[in-house]
């Protein structure tokens, strides 16, 4: 590698001082340097392929132009990828770059990784969870602008974004109601997490709003796996006056419901309609017919989170906000009118 071209090489080639080069390149509308000179310098810089050393400028301005993204786990779902991509895209648009770090469940490791981020002088961090949950912020992060992604915390001074679980469920259930269903079953999660409670609430809201009475036999609790969904759906669809439509806690649960339906000789959506939540394309697109579901907006949450933390950096006394993001319905082929 030939020696890197620095600002002094540019200055020499352009026949000016380094000061002038710096001004020409940075100050968009400075009166310090004549427009003509500025253009000249810029041309020279481009020709030389000059790329400013951000270690140096970061050191000088106390601003690294780096964001940290610490996530709990990057698992088998594509959620993490979507969040990272959203974060990265938003960061890129504003001249930032993101360092990804993931700690598994190990809080000791997490602490050391945060320390590394601090050593690299990250200007802010996005603290992300893969599944909507409550967390407490690691003390190591105090002093760094931080926003929560897919997580909330008790401290009202920290901004956060999570999916609006209630709204997501309402959206899903209303798609069923719109198709004409009134006997609607729900397969909920056993776990005590925000999604469980929020989606149940949304389910009831939607029914109530449309004057549909809820039959308690039509609510069953299951492990949030395909097998759990299968057994739950088997139970729901075998009872008399069984539901004509199923609202499933997740796409994987919905996949179990598909299996139950075919096992019972029922076709989707003619005999039973199904909606899920997650929009895991790998599943929703692959099922047959395609699964109508509500998307969890990980990409958008990622974008929002980094834009938010960058806003905080630019203007440190922006009031914090806790956002719940609406979730769009993705229609495929699993919802139809009830069999008359």
């Amino acid at each position: 590698m030939t020696t890197r071209v620095g600002i002094r090489e540019v200055a020499k080639a352009a026949g000016v001082s380094v000061t002038t080069v710096s001004h020409a390149l940075n100050d968009a509308t400075s009166s310090r340097v004549k427009a003509e000179t500025q253009q000249h310098v810029r041309d020279v810089a481009r020709n030389l392929g000059y790329a400013p050393n951000r270690l140096a400028s970061g050191l000088r301005n106390q601003r690294s132009q780096i964001l940290g993204l610490v996530s709990d786990e990057i698992t088998t779902t594509p959620f993490a990828g979507a969040m990272i991509r959203g974060a990265q895209d938003a960061a890129y648009e504003r001249g930032y770059v993101v360092m990804v770090v993931n700690s598994g469940l190990d809080s000791e490791l997490e602490h050391r990784e945060i320390t590394m981020l601090q050593q690299h002088q990250v200007d802010g961090v996005v603290y992300a969870r893969l599944y909507h949950q409550g967390v407490e912020l690691p003390p190591a992060l105090s002093g760094i602008p931080t926003v929560l992604l897919d997580a909330v915390t008790g401290d009202p001074s920290v901004s956060s974004i999570v999916p609006d679980e209630v709204n997501a469920a309402e959206t899903a259930v209303e798609a069923l109601i719109r198709a004409g269903h009134t006997r609607i079953g729900m397969i909920n999660n056993v776990d005590d997490i925000p999604a469980t409670h929020g989606r149940l609430e949304g389910f009831h809201n939607a029914l109530r709003r449309h004057g549909i009475e809820h039959d308690p036999r039509h609510l069953v609790i299951a492990e949030p796996e395909t097998s759990g969904g299968r057994e739950a759906a088997l139970a729901l669809l075998s009872q008399q006056d069984s539901p004509t439509a199923l609202f499933c806690f997740s796409d994987r649960v919905a996949m179990g419901a598909y299996q139950a339906a075919t096992a019972l000789g029922l076709t989707i959506p003619d005999d039973v309609s199904i909606v899920g939540i997650d929009n895991l394309e790998l599943i929703a697109d692959s099922l047959w017919p395609g699964l109508t579901t509500v998307a969890l907006p990980h990409y958008d949450m990622g974008r929002w989170a980094v834009n938010r933390v960058l806003d905080d950096i630019d203007n440190p006394d922006t009031p914090p906000e806790q956002v719940r993001l609406a979730c769009p319905l993705i229609e495929r082929g699993s919802v139809g009118p009830p069999r008359t």
Copy 2:
């Protein structure tokens, strides 16, 4: 935020010069500083919560301790997450941190993103693709130690790692042979990519090695989607002397084969055995019965790639190597003995 504690604060608190502090902290076995002093300095540094500024040290040593990871796309599959996690884990173990950047298909954008990485003075980059393919290295990367991840290139001087497609197929097919199958069908991909050719070759290798004659009617080409797999499997399983086992190009194709089997009233694995490739847990775990498949080792490839690029950085004249990584069989429930 109180003013950051720097090396000079530590020096003052320890009653020594900054030089001594630096030596005490960095030189593991220096004769420059007495062991006792070294310990003292370290204690003081820890108590003060001193964390060296890597912008400064990077500037000084011409080494940022940052790796770039440029990937083509972070899509709906969990593959990208696995690669990133592998890369991040390996980097962490060696004191590095990774900057993730993804360019979509836009080579203009990719160029600008690589420029950003260069500005941050990354010590090396991992150039990753999500699906095994041939690429040419962007010229912007010349001069930076680079290794290819899930991609190969014509240039023998650049190291790369890809899954061993031939071996993966052999592994899958041999699992079927071991269970007793001899009439084995394959659903291959239409696309002209290394995986297509490699897996076909592995399929033939395995049959030949066990003296099984291949019936050309048992090979069909399909779109690598669930729907393609469904139609292909329908065709394969409807012919007379139909295969007793199906080797599918991917897990999604295998999912289509499941759908075809149940549509034909066949049960898995009693009437037909199925293996896939990918080990997409989201699919393989959710199918019923679970899908036996061959894992594409994205996590391990990610690890290998960063370890390799770090080796190149430490020792610039390590000879390059092009590695094909073996793929392990993951057994679930979709393979059984042929119906007699």
